[in-house]
């Protein structure tokens, strides 16, 4: 498989805290890579660095062979990096339809479309995520499950190559989490996506991801197949803690 994302020696500090410490990894085209780790491990910071929300203090990010370390967030989005947010950041005063429509209009391919064409495409994405009936509902009035779906629909509407999913299961019940997990797998297959998926629900990641990265205190402590990674002592220690004697 072709290498899509290459992160080399990435470091980000916030004052005295090193949120991401010398992290290096690669993601190949078409992979679903899970990123796990305890609270404060630096997972979201890493996603923020890849998406351009933060700029790194050190290190290099390459996307499809292009150095994007110094690129702005909007430039990275245009290259095909889309993301969802840990806390859904939809536009509450606009309808679900408008939220997706705006994403299309802002995207590169949206420039080729008229408003009506973009509106129809937005409907397609809403339908894909089962939100068609909610299209005229203000995003601020949607339930958390629907918000998660709307965020995914909006991200997919940008026609990304790499989708960064930041805790799509947070706040969902097991049935909803299962549904979202299935949808993420489905869109990966249908849209030929590469996905980097941060998640707290380990069971889901173990089932869906082909590779898992584990972070702890800003460092990458494991990288491998899910069943192998969970057996590593440093991963068990990070999650359960050191056994007191």
């Amino acid at each position: 498989m072709i290498e899509m994302l290459k992160v080399s020696n990435l470091t980000k500090r916030f004052g005295g805290i090193i949120a991401v410490n010398d992290v290096s990894f690669e993601i190949k085209k078409g992979e679903i890579v899970g990123l796990i780790g305890p609270n404060g491990a630096g997972k979201t910071t890493l996603v923020n660095l890849i998406s351009g929300f933060y700029s790194p203090d050190r290190g290099k990010i390459e996307f499809n062979g292009k150095n994007i370390t110094k690129m702005r967030m909007d430039e990275r989005a245009k290259l095909g990096i889309a993301r969802t947010f840990q806390n859904p950041r939809v536009i509450p005063n606009m309808t679900a339809h408008m939220n997706v429509l705006y994403a299309i209009l802002g995207s590169e391919h949206g420039k080729e479309l008229t408003m009506t064409e973009a509106g129809a495409e937005a409907i397609y994405y809403l339908d894909l995520f089962g939100l068609l009936k909610k299209r005229d509902v203000l995003a601020g009035d949607l339930a958390i499950y629907e918000l998660r779906l709307l965020e995914l629909a909006r991200a997919l509407a940008l026609r990304p190559k790499l989708l960064l999913v930041d805790e799509a299961m947070a706040g969902l019940n097991p049935a909803e989490a299962e549904a979202v997990s299935k949808l993420i797998n489905r869109i990966r297959n249908e849209f030929d996506l590469t996905i980097m998926w941060i998640e707290h629900v380990l069971k889901v990641i173990m089932r869906s991801a082909e590779r898992v990265l584990v972070m702890h205190y800003g460092r990458l402590i494991a990288d491998g197949k899910p069943e192998e990674v969970v057996k590593k002592p440093e991963v068990i220690e990070a999650y359960i803690g050191e056994e007191e004697v």
């Binding site: 967030m73 909007d74 536009i91 209009l105 995207s107 590169e108 008229t114 408003m115």
Partner: protein, 357 residues
């Protein structure tokens, strides 16, 4: 060459590899047309009936209409600026003064005609705005408010410091009027009313088209959440700079109009915080991002100002602001909010989808 393609309910224009769409919906034209007709006939009605019906000199009433149109000229681009930059500026009147001084100085010192001082005023306002536009990116909240608030104060000080150029409170006299007077003062004022109304209409048209375009929608996202806008791939910096520059240039045109309407321009009069508050109240009473609400609120603000000025004299400002603040309290979504709530569907694009079975 542009290719025009009429379709059902809309016209699509193909130009330079892009498609531009104009939705033609005659069923939504009735109310705006009635509003426009009323707006256009109001000055004539006042001109004809001021003395007999209102027992008031028409010039005073017509001047109130000019002030209302001036508020529209300021508040419409101001609203667009707020949407496109996601920032609330406290210095729109600074750009009015820039436009006014540019037009007045060019007219008095170099004999430049009003037709040429118009682009000069626009460009001067736009160039100054472009120079300071990074503030829309690097500052937000109270810092942005403070920076924009300082601009009119600095210009006010400069007008006193270099009173040899700017004339301080006296201002710059002997500015050429927009047209040769007819000899009938009331008729001249009526013409000025229509000139100001025409400028306000042009502003409304351009801002309406902008807000309905894809750039307008992008501005809407920036106004709501800049990070989300960035994640959409929207070049937030570019849109902010362009919006700030062009809307400031548009505000400078208000100054150009004042200079050529009054035949002089005195900055300190317009750089006062009371005028800024009038503009802010007009924009706020209109409703969030509601450009047509500006027309209603501008006429209400201007009328209340005139009534309180005549009846209360020195206390007028206090009473006027109390009335306006009370209105603001009861109309949280502004005047346009009242209308929009009843006719919501008209302003949200909708698409009907029929499933294939």
């Amino acid at each position: 060459m542009p290719k025009i393609e009429p379709r059902r309910g809309k016209i699509v224009i193909h130009l330079l590899g892009r498609k531009y769409e104009w939705t033609v919906e005659p069923r939504y034209w009735r109310n705006p047309m009635i509003g426009l007709a009323l707006w256009l006939t109001l000055p004539l009605l006042i001109y004809a009936t001021a003395t007999s019906v209102f027992h008031y000199h028409p010039i005073a009433l017509l001047s109130t209409l000019i002030f209302a149109n001036l508020l529209i000229m300021m508040a419409v681009p101001f609203n667009l600026q707020v949407i496109g930059t996601g920032r609330l500026s406290f210095g729109p009147h600074f750009f009015l003064a820039v436009g006014g001084y540019t037009a007045a100085l060019l007219s008095r010192d170099y004999g430049v005609s009003p037709l040429l001082t118009l682009p000069a005023a626009f460009f001067m306002g736009a160039i100054i705005a472009l120079a300071i536009s990074p503030i829309t990116i690097i500052s937000r909240g109270v810092y942005y408010v403070l920076i924009t608030m300082l601009l009119p104060f600095i210009l006010g000080e400069i007008t006193y410091w270099r009173s040899d150029i700017f004339g301080a409170e006296t201002g710059i006299p002997n500015v050429e009027l927009l047209f040769h007077t007819t000899g009938n003062v009331t008729l001249d004022v009526l013409i000025f009313v229509y000139v100001s109304l025409a400028i306000a209409l042009v502003f409304l048209f351009f801002v309406d088209r902008t807000l309905r375009s894809r750039y307008g929608l992008m501005m809407g996202v920036i106004n709501e959440d800049e990070d989300v806008a960035l994640s959409y791939g929207i070049n937030v910096r570019w849109i902010k700079i362009v919006t700030f520059t062009l809307t400031s240039g548009a505000m400078a045109i208000s100054g150009w109009f004042l200079a050529h309407y009054q035949g002089s321009f005195s900055g300190p009069v317009w750089l006062m915080p009371s005028f800024l508050i009038m503009v802010l109240l007009t924009a706020t009473l209109a409703g969030k991002g509601a450009i047509y609400g500006v027309v209603v609120s501008a006429y209400i603000v201007a009328t209340l100002r005139e009534i309180t000025r005549v009846s209360l004299g020195e206390f007028s400002v206090v009473v006027l602001f109390l009335i306006l603040l009370t209105l603001l309290y009861f109309l949280r979504e502004g005047f346009w909010g009242l209308y929009r709530k009843r006719r919501y569907r008209e302003y949200e694009p909708s698409i009907r989808v029929r499933r294939k079975t």
